[in-house]
Structures are given as C-alpha cells and as structure tokens.
C-alpha cells in the first residue's frame, strides 16, 4: 500500500490556519515545509505531492510557491522520499517543463514525479495572454502532445537513476481517464465510496491494458482526509473544532451553484438539488473531476441543496473521502479499500499541520505496518522503485 502526502503547508481544512497549533505565517517558510516532508520520510512514505494552478484563487495561498522550485529545496533536505509536483500542460512550454523536470529528477537522485494537469477556468487563461480557457477536448489533445514532448526529450537524455520522472494524473472525465490509461503511472482520484473506487480503478486499468501497457503500470491513489484521534471522540472533536473556526465568506449555497454551473437562487435550499437542471458532464465548462464527484453524489443520494453545500464547503469544495477515528479504525478502512481493489494506496489530505501529520504517522502507520501493508523502511531509492514501477521503454523515434 502506497502513501503520499498531499502537502498544503497551512493544512487541508480551510480553517486550519486559525487553530492554535497552526503557523499560518510559515507558508513560504521552506524550513517548515521541509520538516513536514522529513516526517513523511521518517515514516517511509512513498512521496509528497504538491498541487498547483498558475493563478491566484480562492482560498488564497493554499500553496504560494511554484511547486518544482519548492521541491528542489526540499530535495536538498531529504534523501529517499519521492517528490511529486504539478505542471500545467496548457500554460507551460513543453521544452521548459522537460528541462526543469529532468534537472530536478537528476538533482534528487531519481525521486521526481510530475502531475500533468490541464487546468480549468478563464482566470488562469488571463495570466497567459488569452481571455478564455480552451475547450475540454482541445486541452486534452494538447496535454497528449505535451506528454509526448516530455517523453521524447527525456528518452534522449536518460541520466537519472529512475530513467525519467514518474507521470501522474488526476483527471476524472472520460478524456482524462483515457489520457491516464495511455500515459499515467499513478492517478489521483476523489472516489468517496469503495464501490466508486473499484469502478474507477477497474476502468483506468482497463484503458491502460487497451493502450497496450503491461499490468501493474498504473497505481490508483484515492484522496483521503484523515482525522486521527486516540479515541473516535477525540478525532470528531478535532473536526468540529476546525469547523467552528471556519470563516463564512461566500454563502455556501451560492458557491455550490458555481461549482455545479447552475443558479440555485430560485430553488428552496431545504429541497433536493434539482438534478434535471444540473448540466451533464459534456455540457459542464469548469473543472470536470470535482464536478463529476458532486454530480455523482446528487444522482446517488439526492441530498438537499443546503446539505450538499455544507458538505462541499467542509471539504474545501473537493468532496473527498473523510475518515475520523482511531489509528486502528482508519487502518481498517484503508485495508478494506485496498483489499477490495479500490486503491493501490492513498493520497493523504491532512487537515491540520503539523499535528495531523504526526497523529497519522504515530497512530495509523504503525498499525498498517503491523498488518504488513506498508514498508518499515525504504528498500529502494527512487520514486519509481518505491511505487514498484518499471523504467519505461524509450519511445521509438
């Protein structure tokens, strides 16, 4: 079972920075970030992961420094753990990305992974000379060209101990999954039930097989928000404590309407989300992965507008799988997902730093080790090695 930390220095909960233990001024402090990564390394995690969009967006400053710059600094302060950053295929020149990533892969001794995304929203486009973000189909066609360019360039160099950086993706749309099937070696996903997780994993592995890739070429890593306590009560109290600190900005119902691409004002907030009025995935113009998760919840559970709005707001609009409990309870859940074939590992969205990470490494990891599910110590030195991935065959010219 693979474990990655999805690192946000201020914590994944939107109010984590207000907690008495939080250090909100430390978000640009590389020392603070490196300490968190060292803690993951001491627990023999596979990797840390930095999300990124090249735009200033709400909530501000989840990650203020460009990820590969920060990871270069982290590489100098660590020795074994994998380092995964995010690059925009839409707004980065492929040659520029190929050079920076190959450089960092060499500097880190073969520990680099790259999450290739296409972004969503016109406000990103305005930072790069256009008014409108490209259409979904065009973005994915461009992403395929971008990935081809990276792999061609890297195949000509090949100095890194792991051959070339590990390709990671996070798209949930049909085109996103197709791209993942062709290129991705690890996939982040937002499945919120075991059944969804199994369906997603089966689907992507099937696409990889149809693309002619050998079994075991893709690892599926669902996101998980863990609230860990010595008792279940303590875990739930932390969640409640953070909720109580949350600042209500935009009305959650208005925000939900934006996320769903639908004006909810005419509807009764205590009535059901009007499924007929929600756009289809094909019609939707924004970030598809998050939209698919929300739409699935609407289809399956028929929640009231207010309930779904609160749920989206609690999880920073990302509706990830949230677990609150003791180390044993959380280990039970992870093992259940893993044995059911819903996951090859997990991407941890820790609500509060550093306390939440420490609780996970001290209470959940030992339990997973006792069950033989995660490593006691590193036996490999590259990210590809940690994930059990082969060095890709050079692409024929």
């Amino acid at each position: 079972m693979h474990l990655n930390l999805n690192l946000r220095a201020r914590g994944f909960h939107r109010a984590a920075w207000r907690h008495p233990d939080a250090r909100p001024e430390a978000i640009t402090d590389v020392g603070f970030v490196t300490e968190l990564v060292r803690e993951c390394e001491a627990a023999a995690f596979d990797a840390v992961f930095l999300a990124d969009t090249p735009v200033l967006r709400e909530p501000p400053l989840s990650q203020p420094l460009e990820p590969f710059s920060l990871l270069a600094a982290v590489a100098a302060g660590t020795s074994r753990i994998g380092l995964i950053g995010t690059v925009s295929a839409t707004y980065t020149e492929p040659g520029e990305a190929a050079a920076r990533l190959a450089s960092l892969d060499l500097l880190s001794g073969g520990r680099l992974g790259v999450n290739v995304v296409t972004n969503a929203g016109d406000e990103v486009a305005r930072n790069f000379g256009s008014d409108a973000h490209p259409e979904h189909a065009d973005r994915y066609a461009n992403a395929a060209r971008f990935l081809d360019h990276l792999q061609r360039t890297w195949a000509g160099g090949r100095r890194s101990p792991q051959g070339e950086p590990v390709i990671v993706q996070a798209g949930a749309s049909d085109r996103g999954r197709d791209l993942a099937g062709r290129y991705a070696e690890a996939v982040y996903t937002g499945s919120s039930t075991v059944d969804d997780g199994v369906a997603f994993r089966t689907d992507v592995l099937g696409r990889a097989e149809r693309a002619g890739r050998p079994a075991g070429s893709v690892k599926i890593l669902p996101g998980l928000i863990p609230y860990v306590g010595r008792t279940e009560r303590e875990a739930r109290d932390l969640e409640a404590e953070l909720e109580a600190l949350a600042v209500r900005g935009v009305d959650p119902v208005v925000r939900l309407g934006e996320l769903l691409g639908l004006d909810l004002a005419p509807y009764d907030p205590d009535g059901p989300v009007p499924l007929d009025a929600v756009p289809t995935v094909a019609e939707y113009r924004g970030a598809v992965s998050r939209f698919v998760r929300l739409r699935t919840i609407v289809e399956r559970e028929r929640p009231t507008i207010r309930a779904l709005a609160e749920r989206a707001e609690r999880s920073m609009n990302n509706v990830h799988w949230t677990v609150a409990g003791t180390g044993t309870q959380i280990a039970d859940q992870l093992e259940h997902w893993w044995r059911a074939g819903a996951a090859d590992g997990f991407n941890l969205l820790v609500p509060l730093h550093p306390a939440g990470l420490t609780a996970f490494t001290e209470q959940v990891v030992p339990e997973l080790r006792r069950r033989g599910l995660v490593r006691d110590r590193y036996t490999t030195s590259t990210l590809r090695g940690h994930l059990g991935l082969r060095v890709p065959q050079p692409v024929p010219a």
Binding site: W17, R18, P20, A22, P24, E25, T28, V30, T34, T53, P54, V55, L56, R57, P59, P60, L61, P64, L65, E66, F68, S69, L70, A72, A73, A75, A76, G77, Y91, T92, E93, P94, G95, E96, A98, A99, R100, A102, S103, L104, L106, L107, S108, G109, E123, R126, N127, F128, G129, S130, H149, T153, G157, R159, L245, V247
Partner: protein, 297 residues
Amino acid sequence: MYLEVVPVGTETLPDLVAYARVAEDAGLDAVGFPLGGALEPTTVLSALAVTTSRVGLVADVSPAYAAPYNVARYLAALDHLSRGRAGWRLVATDPAALADLHGVEPPAAERRARRAAEYAELLPRLWDSWDDDAIPADKERGVYVDEAKIRETRWEGTEFRVHGPLSTPRSPQGHPVLSVEVADAPSRALAAEHAEIVTIGADLSRAADILAGLGGRASLALLALPTGIRPTAALAVEAERAGFGGFRLELDRPAFDRLVGETLPVLGDRSVPAGRTFRERLGLPRPADRSHEGVAA
C-alpha cells in the same frame, strides 16, 4: 571587488552544494548558473538556496520561449527560498541546446529583443502584485489575506498580455536583482534601460569600450572571462580602471579551487560588506511596494 562564479561540469547535487559552500566561505558574492546543460538554473539554485545562507544566486534566463508569468513565479520562489538572495541574468543569446529542447524555431532577433524588454518590465510588475503587508494571518479576526492589498497586473505588450495578480506573495527583496548580458545592440539597449548589473564577455579593451558607451543605471559591471580562465592581479587592476567592479567566472571544480587557493589572495582587498539580502550586499535599494498607488484591483 565583486566575484560571481559559475560551476562548470558539476552535475550532482552534493558536488554543487560543496562548490557553493566553498564559494560562500571564501566570501564570493554570487553563484550563477547557465542554460543549456543537463541541469536547469532555477531548479539548481532553489536547491542551493537552502544549503547556503549568504551568497547571491543568479539564474540565467532566456526570454525566447517561456511565459513570463511562469518565470516570475520561479524567480519569486527562489527569492523566498533563499531569504532574499535571488538574481536573474537575461542572456543575449541562447545555447543551441535550448532550441532543440523546445523543438521550435527560436524567435527572430527583433522579436527576441522585444520579449526581453517586456520581461524586464513585466516581471517586476508581477512581483509587485502583493503589498509587503498583504498577509496579516490574524487568527483572532479570521483574516488570512487582505485582498485589498493584492493588485491585478494589466500588461498589454506586443509580445505578451497578462491580466492578473501573481500567485506568490511579495518576496524578501521585492524584486530579484536584474543582471543583463551585453553582447549586441538589443542587449546594450536593454541593459541601458533596465540592468542593475551588466556582464560583458569580451577582451578588456573592447569590453571597456562597450561599457563606456553604455550609460544607464547599472551599479555594477562585470567582465565575463572565457570558461576556465581566472583573473590575474594585473587584469584586476586594469579592469577596475576601466570601470568594472568585478568578474564573472566559469570554472570547473579544480580551476575553482585554484581561484580560491591561489588567485583570491593576490586580488588584494576584496572585502564586501556582507548583507542579509543580495541587494544589501550590492548596495542596491529595495524597491517599494505599490501600496502608495492606493486602489488595488
């Protein structure tokens, strides 16, 4: 006398870390890093940012390919990571490897010159997106970021259009220090208008002529010596007489060790007041933020 040293043929992180530490301990002013090799400047220097504490870190930047918003982020990150020791050197020409890497024709000279000029103006504007005090992080009041202190850059250039604030808070130096490589007419014009440091790579008499004709606001001129060459005491005296404040040297590790062991002692007094930031070391002012402009977008 200012000395900037560029590691040549050093390709692993431990070797680069060792090189930079020796440079720092010897009191050198900056470590630069070139384009076109297996390692890329902003990633290398971001790693060296946390293994050194005093030396300046100057990344070579080509304006030929990348979007300015991205480059602004790389350099702002370097300034944060190094606690205010970042510099960038706009190069006059690119190594051939760069065009191969991008797989497209490089921009023609005129277009490249326009791109360089827009980089020099636009990047500092992006770095001014946030006022210095835009992050109160006030737990009590629940105010993390003061959005009234973040302004949108509205740039409508010939080569670039950017509408939006940078995603990175203002960095310790405000703006990383801008160095310009002077080699031809466009780079002379660029240097005259924007450079804080100029580097000129020619034999001394020609370099002196170029420098004399340059004008502009650069507070420091560096004579860039060919790869592997160390200055002699006599050259240092002549260069100083011609208006150069120091050298930029590209040295492999053995030549660098000889620089530290043999050359530094004969260069005379080269004690530079150590500052906390690269700007302080160079005696350059820190650019004020734009809060005096009032209304933020």
